[in-house]
Amino acid sequence: MAKELLKGNVAIAEAAIRAGCQAYFGYPITPQTELLEHMSKRMPELGRTFLQAESEVAAVNMVYGAASAGVRVMTSSSSPGISLMQEGLSYIAGSEVPAVFVDVMRGGPGLGNIQPSQSDYNQVTKTAGHGDYRPIVLAPSTIQEAIDLMVLSFDLAEKYRTIVFMVLDGAIGQMMEPAELPPMRELPTERPSWALTGKGNRDKNIVTSIRLGAQPLADFNDILQEKLAVIEKNELRYDELYTDDAELVIVAYGTAARVAHTAVKHLREENIPVGLFRPITLWPFPYQQLGELADRVSTFLSVEMNAGQMIHDVRESVGRQAEIEFLGRPGGIIPLPEEIEEKVRDMWRQKNLAAQIN
């Protein structure tokens, strides 16, 4: 299939359809509404389910219902809408049913604004509801990557019977870029063995998040933790750019990583040995890989479109010896390449100065 000029939100919706999404439940919210609108057009003509729910709370629970029946299902929203979904997310996690969520993040807290932001890093990677679990969180930085990760989201969700989030910001959702859509997949002809499909002659299936009594719930949590450990081992994704000889490394994802990429290219022209480390999975976070980088590199810069959320994971990765600085823009502002370049030049000067003094 050839490349075409695609708008982020629409490309993601179409990629989900081609990945075999059988049901979509959602609610309009800027800046992801085009995703819902594309679904409203395409799903009925393909004989699949589209429903505009009365709220995000309703949407997440419709997802829960469909997922329990073994249907390939998703929803999409933006930050305040994702906050509303926390209850359902926790129940879905407790019931171990696969479900895919797209979060086109905007500025917070509260109603905030509709500008591009990475305000949900903590919300999706640390908690996403009460209880001990983590969703897989994928963070594309181009439309092509968003398409590819959208398809992967369904595969991972089903493989691990888990929640998969794809998080991006309004900039990627709204921009247009040449990209290639995947071919249309065949829909599964059978439902998974654990799904609620009507008992018939088989043993009954139970999908629940209630485990009364301390021990049964503790046992379930152990199983959940084992599963998360497997995901941590198998599903790490990240990208490195100019890190081989770097003495200073920027850590950034999504749109912030795109901007950082531009800055790194400019700085390399000035012979500043800077590299870019880009987590693609925000959970599992590439702690170890970034940590290994810290064996060679002592200076890091976390660039985020928030007030500093991923930086804590960066710190955990690189340890106490490394120096970490932060450049962040909360409130829906995208940092400019020049800002990053200025910051890196400054850090580079300080580093050399310190080396001279020592």
Partner: protein, 338 residues
Amino acid sequence: MTTANIPLKLTRKDFVSDQTVRWCPGCGDYSILAQIQKTLPDIGYKKEDIVFISGIGCSSRFPYYMDTYGIHSIHGRAPTLASGLAITNPNLSVWVITGDGDGLSIGGNHFIHTMRRNINLNVVLFNNRIYGLTKGQYSPTSRTGAKTKSSPMGSIEQPVNPVALALSSGATFVSRSLDAHTKHLGETLAKAAAHKGTSFVEVFQNCVIFNPNEWGPLEDRRQRDDHIIYLEHGKPMVFGKNHDKGIRLNGFMPEVVQLGDEFSVDDLIVHDETSKQLAYTLSSLEYPDFPAFMGVLYQEEKPTYTEVLMDQIHTAQETKGVGDLNTLYRSADLWTVA
């Protein structure tokens, strides 16, 4: 309610804020804003005792444009903020400004419970049957078959009937008006303000950008009287530009009749805004199958939530005496933690 010491005679201008109004040119919201600003000087409240609370949506920008206290709150939650405020501060005039999306989608649950409690507040719901702020998806009041950006083949859902919902939830004042009929709108808002307890006003509002044809002839001054019944307590239900049509009961079924040889005014239903049965019947008559009724559909005198709450507190104090926290602490078994 308080009418105490109002030093200055307020005017409409006193309620106009310094904010630039950011609705689309021609939006029906402008007229509702103007009518509320015109109504407020006469409702018997000091300016600082008036609060506007909204949720999310085009209509919810309202508090910015009012020079009163206001809260631009959370999607669908305005009735709950308003409830908390009105119960704990009963001397305020509290107004909830909401829309068909905010009030009936995510806020549908809160809407029901606010209507049934009879807290002293006014709920004005701007109904344009579309999501305007997110640019044109179907709303809970969109007609079945409505083609919108999220229902390209036509909505397959059954719409909510706001007045019927308010009524069946137990509201003690249920009314309707429309943006284009400024005089009627102003009068209806004044009646809502005067009502003790929860008043509900549905306003047919024109979203000129995303749903401009929804209200059709109702929005046209020259045509509208043939499509609207203005309800007046104790008056027969006559309508039409020439007052030549009416609604009568044929058995249990209301029907539109032409006045003339066969039917006269005496055959028509006489509006009784205290009759819940009549209100239920009327609420089920939906435009355009029937002319749209405007005015007060139902009104009932009932103690407000706050009054009943205070009664309970007084009764408790009369029977048990005024509470003493210290005694209460020591009234149960006590343990000494070493």
